[in-house]
Assembly symmetry: D2
Homo-oligomer: 309 residues x 4
C-alpha cells in the first residue's frame, strides 16, 4: 500500500507532468498513469514485440495521427475493416465532419436525405464510396497477385495516395508493419472487393492464411506486449495468437465496455491469465474510458517525455 497523493495542476503544465501527477491517485487517474508507465516500458524493451489491437471508429473521430504515432513502436497491427476503410477514404481525399454538438440528438432522416452517414457525432458523405470504387476499379489488376488479407491491405497501402505521415495503410506498407484484418469482408473495402468479384473479376484470398504469420510472430517473440484500443476481433485475434507465446509480459487495454455482460470486449486483461494469454506476473492496466480521451493522454505522456526513436 502506498499513500494517495493528490493530483495537482499548474500553469504551462505538460501532459507528461499531469500523468506523472496521477501516479498516486485512485480509480481511473491512477490507471492512466499505470498505462503510461507500462507503455513506456513496452516501447523501450528491445526484446518485446508490441501487438496493437485497434477497434472503434477512431479514424472518423480524429485519432488517425495518434495511431500513426503509435505505429512507430508497433510490431503488429490488427484492426477492423472499418478503420482501414476510413483511413483509405481520407487518403483518397474525402473527409469526416463533426455534427453540431447536440448531446445525442441527431436527425438521421435529414442526414440520409442530405447523403451523410453518421457515426455518433461524426459523419461522412455517402458518396465517398464513389472514390473508393474508382480506386479499386483502376487498380484491380494489381490486386490479383494478393493471396491473403495482409497482402491486400499492404497492396492498398502501396497504391493509395498519402504518406507515412498521414495514412495508416501507407505507413504499415512502407514500414513493413504486419497488418491483419480478419474481418476485412465486413467493411467498405470488403464491399469493393465483393463488387469486383461480382463483376466477374476473380481473386482468391484465403481466409486463414494470415494466421500463420501472426502465430509465428507470437511463437518466436522473446517477450510480448499488447495494447488493446476497444475490443472486438482485433483484441481477440491477438489474444488467440498469444496462446502460442508464453503469455504477454505487458498489457494495456482501453475500453468503455463493462466486464459483467461477459463479452470479450469488456473482459479485463486479467482474465487472460487463466488462458495463458497473459503472464501471471505481467505488468498490465485496464483503463475503462472512452479511447478518444485516454489514448491521446497516455501516448501524449509517453511521447511528451522522451524523444521518439
Amino acid at each position: 500500500m502506498k499513500k494517495v497523493e493528490p493530483v495537482r495542476i499548474w500553469e504551462d503544465m505538460k501532459v507528461s507532468e499531469l500523468v506523472d501527477s496521477m501516479g498516486d491517485a485512485g480509480f481511473g487517474a491512477g490507471k492512466i498513469n499505470r498505462a503510461a508507465q507500462i507503455m513506456g516500458k513496452m516501447f523501450s524493451d528491445e526484446k518485446c514485440k508490441v501487438f496493437v489491437g485497434l477497434a472503434g471508429a477512431m479514424v472518423p473521430a480524429g485519432m488517425k495521427q495518434i495511431i500513426l504515432d503509435l505505429l512507430d513502436d508497433t510490431d503488429v497491427l490488427v484492426t477492423t475493416g472499418a478503420t482501414l476503410t476510413h483511413d483509405l477514404i481520407e487518403a483518397l481525399g474525402d473527409e469526416h465532419y463533426l455534427l453540431e454538438d447536440s448531446d445525442g440528438d441527431f436527425d438521421d432522416g435529414s442526414l440520409n436525405r442530405k447523403g451523410f452517414d453518421r457515426m455518433y457525432n461524426v459523419v461522412m458523405r455517402n458518396r465517398v464510396y464513389e472514390n473508393l470504387e474508382r480506386f479499386f476499379v483502376v487498380n484491380w489488376e494489381k490486386f490479383k497477385e494478393c493471396k491473403t488479407i495482409k497482402d491486400i491491405v499492404w497492396k492498398i497501402g502501396e497504391l493509395c495516395p498519402g504518406t507515412s505521415e498521414d495514412c495508416i495503410l501507407k505507413k504499415c506498407y512502407k514500414k513493413k508493419i504486419p497488418l491483419f484484418c480478419p474481418a476485412l469482408a465486413d467493411s467498405g473495402i470488403g464491399l469493393m472487393i465483393w463488387g469486383r468479384k461480382a463483376s466477374g473479376k476473380e481473386i482468391f484470398i484465403d481466409a486463414f492464411e494470415d494466421m500463420k504469420e501472426i502465430i509465428d510472430i507470437s511463437w518466436t517473440a522473446r517477450k510480448t506486449g499488447v495494447i488493446y484500443v476497444g475490443g472486438g476481433v482485433p483484441k481477440n485475434f491477438i489474444q488467440q495468437s498469444l496462446q502460442f507465446s508464453k503469455g504477454a509480459d505487458y498489457g494495456i487495454q482501453i475500453t468503455a465496455d463493462s466486464p459483467e455482460p461477459g463479452g470479450s470486449s469488456g473482459a479485463p486483461l486479467k482474465e487472460g491469465i487463466s488462458w495463458g494469454k497473459l503472464k501471471k506476473n505481467a505488468d498490465f492496466a485496464d483503463v475503462r474510458c472512452d479511447a478518444t480521451i485516454a489514448l491521446p493522454l497516455i501516448l501524449g505522456a509517453v511521447r511528451g517525455k522522451s524523444k521518439k526513436p
Copy 2:
C-alpha cells in the same frame, strides 16, 4: 403521449403477462415490451427475412437453447467464431462450468494451473481443444470440398454429433439456415483449420465469397428485420448487407454498450437511418441490457403467447 401505467405482478404470472404489463412503462421496461412486440410482428410477417446477429459469450453463459429457439424464425444467422466454437465444444461432449459467485473476484492464476479458461464467471477446461482437434483430424478430408466460410460451418454442422434440438451448427445445417461468420479465423475453429494447414493439409477458403449470398438475400427480400444480440462483426456485417435492401423494416438491438464512445456495438439502431440501413419509419427498439437477461425475457414473452410454427 400515453399515460404511464404501473407494471404489476401476481401469483403464477406468465412471462408474456409480465412483458405485456411493461407496455406502458418507461425506461428499460418499456423497451423490453416494445422489443417483444416488434419480434412478434417480424416473425409473423411472411414477407420479412429475419437476420440475426449474435455476438458475446452466449453459449458459455447458457443461452444455447434460447438461440436454438430463435433459429425457428431466423432466415440468416451471422455470428462469431467463438459462438460456433463453444457450440461445437458442447456437441463434442465437453461442458462449461459456473464459478462460485464471488462478484468479480476470480483467481486466474489458480484457474490456469488447474487448466480452466475463464469467461467472466464461466469456465471450460483447456483440454476441450483436444476433442476439437481430433474432430478436425478425423474429418479433414471432408472439409476439402469447402470453398467458403459458410461451407465450412455447414460442413461442421453436418459432421458433428448432436441434433437440431441441442446444437446451433447442426440446426443451421439441417434447416439450411445460411450461417455466416466473417471472422471465423478468429476462433478455436479457426485455430484448428490453421493447425491442419500448418501440417501441410491444404484447403482454400475464400474470405469474401459469402458476401454474395448475404447481399443477395438482402437485395431480394421484400422486407427485412434485424435482431442484434451484442454488436461486433455480426451486427456490422448485417448492417452492411442491408445497404443493398431498402433498409430494415423491423429492428431489435440488445446491447450493454453505450453510444457515447462512438463504436458500432453501442450505436443505436436509429443511426442506421442515415446510412439507409434502417427505414425512417421502421419499427425498432434498442434495449440497453445484459443479453442473458433481456433475450430470454423477450423471446419468452413471444413464445409464451403463441405456439411456435
Copy 3:
C-alpha cells in the same frame, strides 16, 4: 463448480419458471436467479429485518406497484425526495406520460414551451407543482407538530389521498413502515416546505434526528437484509446504519452503474465486507441491470411462486 445448464422457454411459461431456468446460467441471467433466491430467503427469515434503499425515477417509470408489493416484506424504506414527490403527485391526481419512443432524441425546447418536465422518455406537466403547493397550503397547520423528516413523510402519507394499494406514502404510514429520506430538502416536497417557510410559516425539522431510529433498528435486529435499487443516498444511509449491526446477512443490489469510477452507487456489495456492513459469509448478489427490467423480474419470480403473507 457446477455445470452450465441452458435457459429454456416454453409456451405459457411462468415468470418464476423463467427465473428458475436461469439458475445454472452465467453472467446476468444467473445473477437474476440468485437475487430471486436471496430475496425469497430474506422474506421468509423471520429474524431478518429487511432494509430497502430506493433511488432513481422508479415511480415516473411505472414501478410504483412493484414497490408497493415490495413493501409487504419491507421493514425499513429509505428513498429519495423525488420518489416521494412523484408518488404524492400521482396521489393528488396528476399523471406521468410516455414520450413516443425515439431512441434518445427528445425536443426539450418544445417540451419546455408545452410545459412538460422530462425524465428520459417520461414526462409530467410542470403544473403538477400547483396541486402540490395546494396540498401543503391546505394542510400546513398539521405539519407543525413534525419534528423529523420521517414525521413529515408519514404525515404526508396520513393526509394525502390514495390507499395502501396505490400510494407508497400512504402504505408506509398505514403499515407503520419506517420511511427515511435524508435529502428530502432536495425534492419537490422540499421546495414546498421551503415555500411555506419562506412565507413565514415556521416549522423546525431536525436533519439528524432520524438517524437514531434507523441505527436502533439496525443495532437491535437479529439479522438484516438489504435490497438496493439504484445507489445514492438511500443505499449509503442504510450501509452506514449497518455498521452498527454485525453486517447484513442477505444483500441484493440492482444498479446500472459501474464499479470502476469508484462511486458508492456502483460499488459492489462485496466492498461492504471490508467496512463490516456485510457479513463475510452473507448471501448476496449484484445485478448490473436497468432496475425497471430486473426488479419486476426478480420480484415477479418471488411472488409468482408463493402467496404473499
Copy 4:
C-alpha cells in the same frame, strides 16, 4: 459542420495544447475540449455565478487539490457528506491508501480483519473514526450555535486543522464560499453528530433552512453556470435551485453513468431545458468519463493557459 481534424501530440506538449488539439475531434475527445472552453468562459464571465456539484469518492481518489483549485472560481459548492468527511479525515492527519492494482480483485475479508475500509482501489483505516470523534467531542460546545447544515460545515472548516491550500472545508470557510450538503446525516460527520446527540448533547439543525440561501443566490444571479462532477444529491439540489433562475447559461457535466436507466445522475444536461433548469441556447457539454481522468484534464487545460486570479 466542420471538418474533423486529427488530434496530435508532441514532445513537451502542454495539457492546454492537448486539449486544444481535441477541438475538432469527435466523441469524448471533442467533449473534453468543449467542456474546457465552456469552463473558461464561465470563469471569465463576471456576471456568472458558478455552482459546483460534487459527488463520488473524489477526495479518497486524490482529487482534493483539483477541487481546491476549482474553488478559486466557485460561487457555491454542493457536495456529499462523504466528500467532507474524507476531507476532514485528512485534515485531522489521517490518510488514504492505494491497494496494489489487481484489476478489481480485492480480499475484503482480509481488509476487514486488518481494519481497512475500501472504496474501489482506495482504503482508509477504520480507526480514522477515533480522530473524527475526538474532534467533535472536543469542539462540541462550539457547534451548538449552528442552526443549519451550512453553519455546521463552515464551523468544521473554522475549527479543523489545515489551510486553504490543503482542506476543502477550511477553504470554503475562509473564502466564505457557501457550502451545502443536504444529506450530511448520510456520512461519517453525520454519525459523529448523531453520536453527540445520542449522548444527550442537544443541537438543532434545520433540514430545510439552507434552501433559502441557495435559491436566493440562484434567483438573484444575473447569469449562472453549473459544473457537475458525478450526479446524486449535489447535482439535483443545484438543478432544483436553478428552476428559480432563468436557467443556467453554462453547463458542464462529468459522469460515467448512462442516460438509459432514467436516473438523475446519468441524465444529460439537455434534459434540464425542459424543466427550465438550463437555457435553450446555453453553452453546455456532457462528458461521459471517469471524473478522475476528465476533471484534471479539463481544469488542467483551463489553468494551464491562463494565470489563476
